[in-house]
Each structure stands twice: as structure tokens, then as C-alpha cells.
């Protein structure tokens, strides 16, 4: 499996005590699969993605990328991973082109110039190569982050709210890009509140609530589950039923 999460938990130390953001989460994402990670605010989706990316250390459990443990073997695991966070976090003193070059150097990208040019075109960033992040709109900065993630051959892609700040054309292109990467064999984990996007591009969905996984399966599997059968066939109906937020 390209991505395997095994009994993963993550707790934070707060002034009021210990807060468990994710509790005993396990799932896998196979190569070529697009899995949607959904849940209400505070469900633990972003904590999960940040832990898979190596930003947060798991309190317990194991995260493996192509068999490489993110804690025990971080270099090899990170080399195979691309994380596109919801908040575009860029170096304010590096241009768009320099960001791509920096990533290419860190990940050892072959044929960088051709790949970069193609990506800049694909993400409508051509002409912005010499711009600093401060000169770009939020949507453009988001595209730069995505370009940095896609410029290398990652086997596992993590998207956290990938459509935030994008215009309608950008949204359509992004959907196509995600689907194309999966067809090329990448394992994709996508977190979003846009349930129609998840329904459209994902082949499977994991629903989280209060740090725990409460549902995992294809839409057909969820729709035919005994306790959800009465909810309806759309992901939105299933989501509200399973999280108990629907009335």
C-alpha cells in the first residue's frame, strides 16, 4: 500500500489538560486510489494530514509511505510524499520559479526545466515566475504550493482543501489534475468540506468525527450499510446521518 496508517493517535498538551485530536485511526490508500477525508470542524482531518506529512509527530501508532515509517525513516518517507496544505505557506523572499527550483533541489528532480514549464502552464502561473508571494493573490499562492507538490514524482499526494481560493477555471483544472495524478498511479488523500468535490473525484471516503473514524468505504458501500440505508444516496445525506449533525 502506498499509504498505511496503523492505530495512529495524536494528543496535544493544553493548559486545561491533554486533548486527543486523533484517536486510534487506521486506514490504507492504495496506488491509483483517491480517498476523501471528510468530517466536521475539529474532527482531526488536518492533524491527520500534518502527521502523515511529518509536520506533527504521532503520539502513538505508525504512518508508512511506501513502507517507510515517517518517524523511523523520515527521509525516504518524505521523499515519496507531497503535501498541499490549505493555507499556502511560502517563503516571502523567494519567487515562484525559485520555489520550484528549491523543491527540485531538495527532492532531486530530473528534467526540472521541462516539468516546471509544463506545470506553470497547467496551473496558469506562466508569466508569474519572477513574482514574490506577496505580489500574488491567495488563489495564485495556493497554485504555487500545488505546483511545488506536483513538480516532483511523489507516490503519495495529500491535499488539504485544495480548492480554497481558486476561481471556477482553477477548480475545474485542479479536479482534472488530481484525477490525472491518480491515473498515473499516485495514492491521493484529499480532505475537503466540499462534499460534491469529494463525491465527484474520490473513489472512497473516510468520515471522521471528534478524532475517530466513524465510516470508511466506497459510496455504494456506505449507502448500502444497514444503519445508513435510510439516509439517502448522496454523500451529503450520508455525512449528516453518520455524524449525527443532520436533523
Amino acid at each position: 500500500m502506498a499509504l498505511a496508517i496503523d492505530h495512529f493517535s495524536r494528543a496535544y498538551q493544553a493548559t486545561s489538560g491533554t486533548f486527543t485530536a486523533v484517536d486510534d485511526l487506521s486506514f490504507v490508500v492504495a496506488a491509483g486510489e483517491i480517498v476523501g477525508l471528510i468530517g466536521p470542524n475539529g474532527a482531526g482531518k488536518t492533524t491527520t494530514l500534518r502527521s502523515i506529512a511529518g509536520i506533527l509527530r504521532p503520539t502513538s501508532g505508525v504512518v508508512r509511505i511506501d513502507g517507510h515509517d515517517i518517524v523511523a525513516d523520515p527521509i525516504e518517507a518524505k521523499r515519496r510524499l507531497a503535501f498541499m496544505p490549505d493555507e499556502p505557506h511560502l517563503f516571502e523572499y523567494l519567487t515562484v520559479a525559485e520555489h520550484l527550483r528549491l523543491v527540485a533541489r531538495l527532492y532531486g528532480v530530473d528534467d526540472f526545466d521541462r516539468r516546471a514549464a509544463a506545470l506553470l502552464d497547467e496551473l496558469e502561473l506562466a508569466g508569474k515566475e519572477r513574482s514574490l508571494p506577496g505580489e500574488l493573490s491567495r488563489g495564485m499562492r495556493q497554485k504555487v504550493v500545488i505546483a511545488c507538490g506536483l513538480v516532483r514524482e511523489a507516490t503519495t499526494l495529500l491535499f488539504d482543501e485544495p480548492l480554497t481560493g481558486l476561481d471556477p477555471v482553477g477548480i475545474r483544472r485542479m479536479r482534472n489534475t488530481i484525477a490525472a495524478r491518480a491515473q498515473q498511479g499516485a495514492a491521493i488523500l484529499l480532505s475537503s468540506h466540499l462534499l460534491h468535490l469529494v463525491e465527484e473525484v474520490c473513489s472512497r471516503v473516510i468520515i471522521m468525527d471528534r478524532g475517530r473514524k466513524i465510516a470508511d468505504g466506497t459510496f455504494e458501500e456506505l449507502a448500502t450499510r444497514a444503519d445508513l440505508a435510510a439516509a439517502g444516496s448522496s454523500l451529503e445525506q450520508i455525512f449528516f446521518r453518520v455524524t449525527g449533525h443532520g436533523a
Binding site: G54, I75, F91, Y93, L132, P133
Partner: protein, 576 residues
């Protein structure tokens, strides 16, 4: 509106105080608060007690004697300075900050059914906490032995600062009115400028009459003439508002002080009345201030220009080079290179002039030489604390750095490379200047061989000391990230001040400890070789010392790797 203003002021102050008290539950803030309080006590209050004890013992209270001696002429002199500042306010882009409404204030108060005067009054009331604090600090810092005198000075300073703040606001509003299409509004705005210009001309003419006829004999002579020129006739009248603001600070008795306060209050009231009657320009001026504020915020958010740096990152190579390239790009994009070239040209020209100057100018050479020496010492011992283009800056980007497939020790080493190289190069440059000018500085009597050997030894240990300090600062950032201000953040409060003091003390202590083995090795080499080669033994001694410190730095960067791996982004302190 006054009640609403007071409500906002009280709530803001109370919430800020609550926040700071609440965070004292965390040991790091508590320790910081204790250290900060101790620093304040020993800096100001203990000094006050010592001075009192000295006075009881009959010791001469020099500051009081000085204040007494200056008391007669000081209000006039300060008044003159205030007149100059008041005049400059019309020429230079001074800002009082009173019109710089925050985003929340603009959103809540501008659409509210309140008058423009009420908004101005609100800002005046809002500024009082800062002004009172400023007055208190200046009062404490006054060279006086008694607490009562400090309190008096604090009140007087508060009135002076308040009047200044209001005056600068009036100037901002008047500037806006000067650009108005309404002729009547423009005429009204010209009036205070005309009055101020007249006052400046009258005082200037009086000073000219006092100074032009005969050359100045001494500083005392100059002071006497200024006092004579400003204490009578039309000049006295023209200077009155400015002298009135300064008089309570220097008043001797209670009666004189109270009279001074009354006059000072009249000036403040006049300034407030002037500003309130020009409130029609408030919206435009506030909009302009808001634009400037937005521009300031934008420039704070990104002080970088997309200029060519001439540095291209190779696609393959060591990871450390990536960090060095990144930091170099950051530095080159934040520094105005034309200004740097100008400064360098000035330094080179001054050094050349000082070096080639004859005997008559030896004082200039001595000053330049001493300055170069002090600069070298600063660059080696203090600048690593100031130049933060390393992990201290990159903690802000930890979320990105953590996803990179780079060995942790390489990250730590990479963060040190650029600031270490820059500081070493700057210190070497300054050291060369100091060596060139050493013949006239404090080391003039030192023999050339010793000066050259000493200079070479300093040059050798410079990178070791710089990198050792940078390693300590970066270690602190990795081990105690919550104690490190992020980027250009400057946390405020007694606890934050105490934290900075503790960090500074710990850094120096660690530096001393880390240099001891190298210093011992250097001393052994020195004692072994000095009989044979004399002063030149300093060079191998420095090499021995630098080598050991260098090895310590390399070992420390490896040892810090696990700390980087364990570092949790949630441990990094965000802005208050």
C-alpha cells in the same frame, strides 16, 4: 462617546493584563516576569534607594546640582528645541498616530452614529495609557534622587507628550486641509502655519542678534546668550507656549511647579481646541493615515523586492547549501544594495581620509580606529544575537521545513552557514580597518609585531566565536522554541523582557563554557611557543582555540539533530 471610549480603554487594558497574568501559570513566563521585575528593581528603584542613602550620608548629589545649575536656562533651551520640532513637523512627515485607527476601530466606530469630534476625543483618550506609561518611564529615568521629584517630572512629561501628540495630529489635519479645494478651509489651515513661521522668524532674529556680533567663547557663553535672547521682548512671547511645556520639568519649588503645570495645561487645552475645530478634515486625514498604515503593514508583511540576486541554486548538491542560498536570497532581497554601496563608499573614503591625514587630524584617525575596533567587537560578540536569518527566523516556516527530506543535522548546519559567513566577513573587514588605523588608537603604543599577531589571532578565532554563538542561539530555538520571538515579532511585557534577559545571560554563559577548552588549548600552545617566536605565537594559539571550538560546533549540530526531529510545530509561540 466618552463613556464608550473609557469602556474600550478599560476593557482592553483589563484583558491584556488578564492575559499576561494568566500566562504566568507557565513557568517560562513566571521566570521571565521574575527576571524582568528584578532587572527593573535593580535598574531604577535600587538606584533610587542608593541615592537616598548617599544623600543621608551627606554625599554630594551631583545630578541635583547639575539640574539646579541648568534650571535657569533649561526651559528656554528645551522650548527652543520644541519650537524647532514643531516647525519641522510641517516639513517632515511626522505622524502622531492619533489618526491611525485600527481596522477594528474603522469597522466599528466609523459607521457608528458618532461625530468626528467624538472619534478624535476617543483616540485622545485611547492614547492616554501609552502616554502615561511614557511619562512614567521618563520620570523614572530622570537624574533625580527623590521619588517625589520623579513623580513631578512624570506628570510634567505626560503633559508635554500629550501636547505633542495632539499638536502632530493638528498638523496632519491642517496638511489635509491645505490640499482642500475649499479656499476658506485652506485659509484656516494656513493660519497656524503663519503664526508658527512668525514665531520662528522672531526667535531666529533674536538669536542672530545675540550670536552674529561676536564669536562664541565657550559652551557657557553660548548658553548665556541663548538665555538672554529668548527671555525678553518679542522672542519671549513667541516662545511662551513651548517654554510653558518645558517649565514644570525644571521647576524648583511647589509653587513654581504648579504654576508651570497650569501654563502647560493651557497649552495642551489650546492644542486640543485647535485640533477639534479642524475636525472637518478628519475623514480624509484618517483615510490617508489608514492607507499609510495599510502600506506599513504590507511592507511589514513583505519587506522584500523581487530583485535579481545573482544567486542560482544548483539542482544537485549538499542540503546545507540550500539553506545558505535561501538565507542569502532573503538578505539580498531585504537590503537596499545601493545604500549598502553608498555606506561602503563612505566608510572607505573616511578611512582613506583618516589614514592619509596629517598630524593635525590624528584625533579623527584615533576616533575612526577606535570605532573600527568597537565595531569588530560588536560584530563578533553581539551581532550573532541580532542577525537572525537562521532557525530563529525559520521557526515561522517550520511546517514547510519539516516536510523536506533532509537530515536534521544538515538542517541545523545549513541554518548557520549564511549568518556565520556574513558576520565573519563583516568582522574581518572591520578588523582590517582597525589594524590600518591602530597606530593612532588606544593600541598606538603596542609594537607592530604584536598588533599584527593579535589582529591575525582575532581573525582566526572570529569564525569560531561567531559560529559558536549562532549554534547556541539556534540550539535555544530548537530546545526552547517558545522563548524565541518569531521573525520580527517583539513580545511585550515584563515577562517577555525577563525572558530576553535570561536568554542573553544563558547564551553568554554557554559561550564562555564552550570556549574554555579552546582557550586552554590556545594558552598551552602560547606558553610553549612564545619563547621561540614571540608575539607570532598568538597565531598558532588562536588556531588551536578555533579548531577546538569548530569541532564543538560540528558535534553540537549533529547532537541537535534529534532536537529538530522532536521539535513540534505546536511548541512554537505565535503572536499575542
Amino acid at each position: 462617546m466618552i463613556a464608550a471610549s473609557l469602556y474600550i480603554v478599560v476593557c482592553s487594558a483589563r484583558n491584556r493584563l488578564r492575559l499576561r497574568l494568566r500566562r504566568l501559570r507557565e513557568p517560562r513566563y513566571l521566570l521571565g516576569a521574575i527576571a524582568g521585575a528584578a532587572y527593573l528593581y535593580f535598574s531604577f528603584f535600587a538606584r533610587l534607594r542608593t541615592a537616598r542613602t548617599g544623600r543621608r550620608r551627606g554625599a554630594a548629589a551631583a545630578p541635583i546640582a547639575l539640574a539646579s545649575a541648568m534650571r535657569a536656562g533649561a526651559p528656554g533651551l528645551v522650548g527652543l528645541a520644541l519650537l524647532a520640532v514643531a516647525a519641522l513637523a510641517w516639513i517632515l512627515p511626522f505622524e502622531s498616530g492619533l489618526l491611525a485607527f485600527s481596522e477594528a476601530e474603522t469597522q466599528f466606530l466609523f459607521p457608528a452614529p458618532v461625530t468626528r469630534r467624538a472619534l478624535l476625543l476617543y483616540r485622545m483618550i485611547r492614547s492616554q495609557i501609552g502616554l502615561l506609561f511614557g511619562g512614567a518611564i521618563l520620570g523614572i529615568a530622570m537624574p533625580s534622587a527623590s521619588g517625589y521629584a520623579r513623580l513631578r517630572a512624570a506628570v510634567a512629561m505626560w503633559l508635554l507628550l500629550s501636547a505633542g501628540k495632539v499638536y502632530f495630529t493638528g498638523v496632519s489635519l491642517a496638511r489635509t486641509r491645505l490640499a482642500s479645494r475649499d479656499a476658506r478651509s485652506r485659509r484656516a489651515a494656513w493660519l497656524p502655519l503663519a503664526v508658527l513661521s512668525a514665531a520662528a522668524v522672531i526667535v531666529g532674529a533674536s538669536l542672530s542678534r545675540a550670536f552674529i556680533p561676536a564669536p562664541i567663547a565657550s559652551i557657557a557663553d553660548a548658553l548665556d546668550r541663548i538665555a538672554a535672547a529668548t527671555s525678553g521682548g518679542a522672542a519671549r512671547v513667541a516662545l511662551w507656549p513651548f517654554v510653558a511645556l518645558a517649565r514644570p520639568i525644571f521647576a524648583a519649588g511647589v509653587r513654581e511647579y504648579l504654576a508651570g503645570l497650569a501654563a502647560s495645561s493651557v497649552v495642551l487645552a489650546a492644542a486640543v481646541a485647535w485640533v477639534l475645530q479642524t475636525d472637518a478634515a478628519l475623514e480624509d486625514a484618517a483615510a490617508a493615515a489608514a492607507e499609510r498604515r495599510a502600506a506599513d503593514l504590507a511592507s511589514q508583511a513583505s519587506p522584500y523586492r523581487a530583485s535579481r540576486t545573482g544567486l542560482t541554486l544548483a539542482l544537485f548538491g549538499r542540503a546545507e547549501a540550500v539553506f545558505a542560498w535561501k538565507a542569502a536570497t532573503q538578505t539580498l532581497r531585504s537590503v537596499d544594495r545601493r545604500n549598502m554601496v553608498r555606506i561602503a563608499a563612505i566608510v572607505v573614503a573616511l578611512t582613506a581620509a583618516a589614514t592619509s591625514a596629517g598630524r593635525g587630524a590624528s584625533g579623527v584617525r584615533a576616533v575612526a580606529g577606535t570605532f573600527a575596533l568597537v565595531t569588530t567587537a560588536f560584530l563578533i560578540l553581539m551581532a550573532p544575537q541580532v542577525l537572525r536569518v537562521d532557525m530563529r527566523e525559520d521557526l515561522r516556516h517550520l511546517e514547510v521545513l519539516k516536510t523536506w527530506p533532509v537530515r536534521a543535522p544538515a538542517v541545523v548546519r545549513g541554518e548557520l552557514v549564511w549568518p556565520g559567513v556574513v558576520l565573519t566577513a563583516a568582522a574581518w573587514t572591520s578588523l582590517v580597518l582597525a589594524e590600518i588605523l591602530a597606530g593612532t588608537s588606544a593600541f598606538a603604543r603596542v609594537r607592530l609585531a604584536w598588533r599584527l599577531s593579535g589582529g591575525a589571532a582575532i581573525a582566526i578565532v572570529t569564525p569560531a566565536l561567531v559560529f559558536a554563538q549562532l549554534t547556541i542561539h539556534n540550539a535555544a530555538a530548537l530546545l526552547f522554541p517558545a522563548w524565541v520571538p518569531l521573525g520580527r515579532q517583539r513580545p511585550r511585557g515584563l515577562d517577555a523582557m525577563g525572558q530576553r534577559l535570561i536568554m542573553l545571560g544563558a547564551t553568554w554563559l554557554l559561550l564562555i563554557v564552550s570556549v574554555i577548552p579552546g582557550a586552554l588549548a590556545g594558552a598551552i600552545v602560547w606558553f610553549a611557543l612564545r619563547v621561540f617566536v614571540g608575539a607570532a605565537a598568538l597565531v598558532p594559539a588562536a588556531l588551536a582555540c578555533a579548531s577546538i571550538v569548530g569541532v564543538e560546533v560540528l558535534v553540537a549540530t549533529e547532537a541537535l539533530g534529534p532536537a529538530y526531529e522532536r521539535l513540534d510545530v505546536t511548541a512554537v509561540e505565535r503572536a499575542e
